[in-house]
């Protein structure tokens, strides 16, 4: 008897240890990346990094201010266009999506989520850059929106599905019309979850590089308009990193650190909203 109890306890400990070890291995890369970036990027992490334009080769100093602004503008445009469409499509799937059309949409959205981002870039290039004959913030935003929208559609749907049926029934029984119930009660109940989904999708598109190569192109100066090539942090990191100059390599690390900082801040915001939900 005792040996059985002992064996069971041992088995329990071993499995628990394995799970804990896996969890540790999962978070390890985040710490490695973060500390490596801190280590290598610290040298260039100065105030001017955030406030100055890039300097030409050989000239010390300079920053990625235009890239920060560019990334924010592209992501902002993509979200301004993408959020209403994605949230409404998510509402459709969750509240009305029972038929064949809805399952087709669901399938298409899931497929779209899996499409490699470089293809979205090529798509933006063919559909926007070629006809307009120029690289632009618009084209970049459209490419990123195509990555952003499917994620938000699905998280919105999932979050609305977590709203208990009893909430919808209660509204129905009060004689509140279905559309008002959906918009002002169900969606309101799930708002924190929907915002979390939006933030996580935002974190995802902020660091996308491949689509921008085909659409934003990059820019050494302040942007003069949204119909012009535009700078973005991931592009600057990419260009600095593949350059042969040591001080540019340092800037690549610093730029990457800024990018990771932004993603961390957004994820932190998402955590906050997740907590509000509970």
């Amino acid at each position: 008897m005792e040996s059985i109890a002992f064996r069971r306890r041992a088995a329990d400990r071993v499995t628990r240890g394995l799970f804990a070890l896996s969890a540790f291995v999962v978070i390890l890369p985040l710490f490695l990346i973060f500390f490596d970036l801190l280590w290598k990027g610290a040298r260039e992490l100065k105030w001017t990094l955030l406030t100055d334009l890039p300097h030409p080769v050989g000239e010390p100093g300079g920053g990625i201010a235009n890239g920060i602004l560019g990334t924010l503008s592209i992501a902002g445009l993509a979200m301004a266009g993408g959020i209403p469409m994605a949230v409404m499509a998510g509402i459709y799937l969750a509240e009305y999506g029972r038929g064949k059309f809805a399952s087709a949409v669901r399938f298409a959205v899931d497929t779209l989520t899996g499409v490699p981002s470089i293809i979205m870039g090529i798509f933006g290039y063919v559909l926007w850059v070629l006809p307009m004959k120029r690289f632009s913030a618009w084209a970049a935003a459209a490419s990123l929106a195509m990555i952003f929208i499917p994620i938000v559609v699905r998280t919105t749907e999932e979050m609305l599905k977590t709203v208990p049926a009893s909430v919808r029934e209660a509204a129905l029984a009060l004689g509140i019309e279905r559309w008002k119930t959906t918009l002002f009660i169900t969606v309101r109940t799930a708002t924190a979850g929907i915002v979390t989904g939006i933030l996580l999708a935002m974190a995802r598109i902020i660091g996308e590089t491949a689509p921008l190569l085909f659409t934003a192109l990059g820019n050494q100066f302040w942007q003069s308009g949204l119909d012009q090539p535009i700078a973005a942090i991931p592009l600057q990191v990419f260009n600095y990193a593949i350059s042969p100059y040591d001080d540019w390599h340092d800037k690549a690390w610093a730029g990457a650190l800024v990018l990771i900082g932004m993603v961390l801040a957004i994820s932190g915001g998402a955590r906050y909203f997740t907590r509000v939900r509970k």
Binding site: A170, L174, I176, E177, T189
Partner: protein, 253 residues
């Protein structure tokens, strides 16, 4: 008219499964009618037919008539949304809207039913409804608290206040006390008795004593059939059907 609702030959199906079989009954205005019967006999299905709560359930079908103020609620001319403002419902599990304050919970029906009201009118109705639901004194200083942070019994009374705020004529209650402790149950029973002066109340209950205390009429269901319906005193002392007697004496069910 002395009947608030008249049910004639009501049948109901979920897919091929017939759950209600030719139910015919009159529900007296300003009275409390209890619906009793063993689990699964169709009590919830029945009262949800009275305000068309099944409209969105896939595969659900009804036949027969339910007359409310003399008009068939299943006729094409009836707007179910307007019907539900006249025939309100309280559910088994208290279900206040999670992300709204107690005040908003009570005001929500008014807010969305199309008629413009001033802030003061709104506050007045909320107070009146909370008073009717015997919750005002406990809650008047905490109207901003989230509805879901109240105790179970308070939540259920909040749901009653919410239903009353849209000024229904009929209140349907599906086992409103089954999730509550005896003290809260007693409060709600008292409330039902008070409300029956002004409202027609149909309440599903499994609790014999409760049905005896609160009801004017009792309907006994078995496997989708209405076995008998009569004055509560008659059902509990001298039921016409043997099966009713067996059920209320606890010999089956």
């Amino acid at each position: 008219m002395e009947n608030a609702l008249q049910v004639k030959d009501l049948c109901a199906w979920f897919g091929d499964h017939q759950v209600l079989k030719n139910i015919t009954m009159d529900i007296r205005r300003n009275s409390v009618t209890s619906v009793m019967g063993p689990s699964g006999c169709g009590k919830s299905t029945f009262i949800r037919c009275l305000n068309r709560m099944h409209d969105l359930t896939p595969g659900f079908r009804v036949a027969g008539d339910v007359l409310f103020d003399g008009r068939n609620i299943y006729s094409e001319k009836i707007d179910p949304v307007l019907l539900r403002r006249k025939v309100g419902m309280v559910f088994q599990q208290p279900n206040p809207f999670p992300r709204m304050s107690a005040f908003e919970n009570v005001a929500v029906g008014l807010k969305f039913n199309g008629k413009k009201r001033s802030r003061a009118e709104m506050a007045e109705t909320v107070e009146k409804s909370l008073r009717m639901a015997a919750l005002w004194d406990e809650l008047k200083d905490h109207l901003g608290r989230p509805g879901s942070s109240l105790s179970g019994g308070q939540q259920q009374r909040l749901c009653i206040a919410r239903a009353l705020a849209v000024e229904p004529e009929v209140l349907l209650m599906d086992e409103p006390c089954s999730a509550l402790d005896p003290m809260s149950t007693a409060k709600i029973e008292e409330l039902i008795e008070d409300l029956s002066d002004k409202y027609t109340i149909v309440v599903v209950t499994h609790n014999m004593q409760q049905a005896g205390r609160i009801s004017d009429y009792v309907a006994f269901f078995l496997l989708g059939d209405l076995i008998e319906m009569d004055k509560a005193a008659k059902i509990f002392t001298n039921p016409a059907d043997k099966r009713t007697e067996e059920y209320i004496t606890g010999r089956f069910g």
